[in-house]
């Protein structure tokens, strides 16, 4: 029975877990209950990934109403891979959320943070699970609303402002997306994404379809922080509670990029549309700009979280570039980097969160020498940093290798120069952080800290290393996912 319904349970379990945790309130059981539910969820997503890879796309009709009429959940290789990523990172982080937040959030608010965290997880899983365009909007807003609440939950001045500004920009993005969906619904009378893919080619030349595509793309681009729509991301990542940022930076933009890929390749008939190729060209240019400007800004900043946030903008550029190539190799590279970057950035932000515990400061100055005091965190930081640069034997190398191969195949020589240039710049900003963290001259007091919070860092960094050494499973999954996404047999 569970096998048959696993697809829906992945979304339902966290969604029902949230009100239960609200009922359990401040008791310790709430945390363990959450950890239990999220762990079961993570196991389910692994099992689903194996299922999808062996028997192909899974479908599930809610309320047993058949597909174009009822709401259909569908799981394809790409969705299954992302669900594994989301559910695993959530399950790994949940047990330590309380410790990570302890310094910034009073215990009376911690369970509210936990509820919002679970809803955020449910929303992200839902975006990936559903096959209904309007459902994507609903889950997008569930995850966004939880994100706004989580950013502001510590009640710090800057975080409040960052959250409010993100709320305004994010809602504009979601509403743009809603307009786009509305236009295609008016044109075709359907909201099922597969059904849309069948019906949209008939109207692919109408102005309405072009406008709908633009609205959907801009709407999702805001959520995915594609340059130049990234402005909300920097203050949010710089001021949100430290433990929360690790989760946000790891997942939320990736899921938005998944939605972008899904709509560009799985819904709109880009090849038949007059603006299709123009849009992809523009996205490529924006991606290049994101890489160069993001990396340059990362070098310029001295606040470590701002450095990592700008680095995220640049990394999102890599993913967008891969997607916008719209070739099998390009999309494969994008998927691999989506997966790798989630683990890299998640572990890096976690490292910074732990290093900054106590001082509460995130300047390079304040982190000086801490790498020696906390060797495990220091080593994880090194692994994450090397991955960000793309040093061989780390997962970042695999991503860049595939991206450059794809660019060579597409004969985009100038883009390759830009990617390499951005990588060189990433060496500079990663070096800046590493140099400060392992600075020997500084003689700080050894601060005792709870070693158990190192567990998620070790796990996330281990994934980066493992993929760097043996990437065959990820690569074959990504290849299958990109083939499916581009509609190739």
């Amino acid at each position: 029975m569970i096998a048959q319904h696993a697809q829906i349970l992945v979304v339902i379990l966290p969604l029902l877990c949230a009100p239960l945790v609200l009922l359990l309130g401040k008791s310790r059981i709430a945390v363990w209950f959450t950890v239990g539910v999220l762990s079961v969820n993570a196991l389910l997503t692994w099992w689903l990934l194996l299922q999808v890879l062996t028997i192909g796309t899974l479908r599930y009709s809610l309320g047993n109403w058949p597909a174009p009429w009822g709401i259909e959940y569908r799981l394809d290789p790409l969705g299954a891979l992302l669900q594994v990523m989301i559910a695993s990172i959530a399950a790994v982080m949940a047990p330590f959320l309380r410790k990570l937040l302890a310094e910034e959030i009073g215990s009376s608010r911690q369970y509210a943070a936990l509820v919002a965290f679970i809803l955020l997880t449910a929303g992200l899983l839902g975006i990936v699970a559903t096959g209904d365009a309007f459902n994507v909007f609903v889950f997008l807003e569930i995850s966004s609303l939880s994100t706004y609440a989580l950013i502001a939950i510590a009640d710090k001045r800057d975080a409040l402002l960052a959250s409010f500004r993100y709320l305004i920009v994010g809602t504009i993005g979601a509403t743009f997306f809603l307009i786009g969906i509305g236009l295609v619904y008016i044109l075709t009378g359907t909201l099922n994404m597969d059904d849309l893919a069948v019906r949209l080619p008939e109207v692919s030349h109408t102005n309405t379809t072009q406008i709908a595509l633009i609205f959907v793309t801009i709407g999702i681009a805001i959520k995915a922080a594609i340059w130049p729509l990234h402005a909300w991301l920097i203050p949010c990542y710089s001021y949100a509670p430290r433990g929360i940022v690790a989760f946000l930076a790891a997942l939320s933009t990736k899921v938005a990029l998944y939605a972008l890929a899904r709509f560009l390749f799985g819904v709109f008939p880009l090849a038949d549309m007059p603006i299709g190729s123009v849009l992809l060209e523009i996205l490529q240019l924006l991606a290049i700009a994101a890489m160069l400007i993001g990396s340059a800004a990362a070098i310029a900043h001295s606040n470590v979280r701002a450095v990592l946030a700008y680095s995220s903008v640049a990394q999102i550029g890599y993913i967008t570039l891969g997607l916008a190539l719209a070739t099998s190799a390009g999309v494969t590279a994008a998927i691999i980097h989506m997966f790798n970057h989630a683990f890299i950035k998640g572990s890096l932000f976690m490292c910074i969160a732990i290093l900054a515990t106590g001082s509460g400061k995130h300047t390079l100055e304040s982190l000086k020498g801490l790498g020696h005091r906390m060797p495990i965190v220091g080593i994880a930081l090194l692994i994450g940093g090397f991955s960000l640069i793309g040093v061989p034997l780390t997962s970042g190398f695999i991503s860049k290798w595939f991206l450059i191969t794809a660019l060579v195949q597409a004969e985009k020589w100038i883009w390759i120069v830009a990617v390499l240039l951005s990588s060189v710049m990433s060496i500079i900003y990663v070096w800046k952080i590493v140099e400060a963290v392992f600075d020997k001259s500084d003689d700080k007091q050894v601060r005792s800290y709870d070693l158990s919070v190192d567990i998620p860092i070790v796990l996330l960094a281990a994934v980066s290393l493992y993929i760097g050494i043996n990437s065959s499973a990820l690569v074959s999954t990504a290849e299958q996912a990109s083939k499916w996404l581009l509609g190739m047999p």
Binding site: E141, F164, L167, I168, I172, A174, P235, S238, N303, A306
Partner: protein
């Protein structure tokens, strides 16, 4: 002009009003009001699309052949709930911002420079709003 299309002109008018209020005004409450007007314009877009000439309310009845399309209404009911939640959260944030900064005018609010990291981001934030 076909009288049928008046709704859509109204939608465009509302949309532009809302976006203007979002961009032009520094007052945070006005921004939220602008956001609401903007969202309502999209609700009207959906509802207008659901209307069918001569169509009755979508409740099954033996004397009626043509019904209006109920689905957009249902979708928009959901979108309204999302919009209520967003507005509520936005207002809650405004209350906290007022308590923390003593002002709700966006032009006077800025990130504290204690961490000295976000000069650039503040500028881009302002221009984006």
């Amino acid at each position: 002009m076909d009288s049928q299309l008046y709704n859509y002109w109204l939608v465009i008018l509302l949309m532009m009003t809302g976006l203007y209020a979002l961009i032009a005004r520094g007052n945070l409450i006005r921004k939220i009001i602008g956001l609401n007007i903007f969202q309502v314009s999209v609700f009207m877009l959906y509802i207008s699309a659901g209307f069918i000439r001569e169509g009755a309310a979508p409740i099954l009845s033996p004397n009626v052949d043509v019904y209006s399309n109920p689905l957009p209404h249902v979708l928009i009911l959901t979108a309204i709930v999302v919009s209520v939640a967003t507005t509520a959260l936005g207002l809650a944030l405004v209350i906290r911002i007022k308590a923390a900064f003593g002002s709700i005018d966006d032009d006077t609010l800025s990130y504290s420079s204690g961490d000295s990291a976000t000069e650039l981001s503040i500028k881009t934030q302002k221009s984006s709003q």
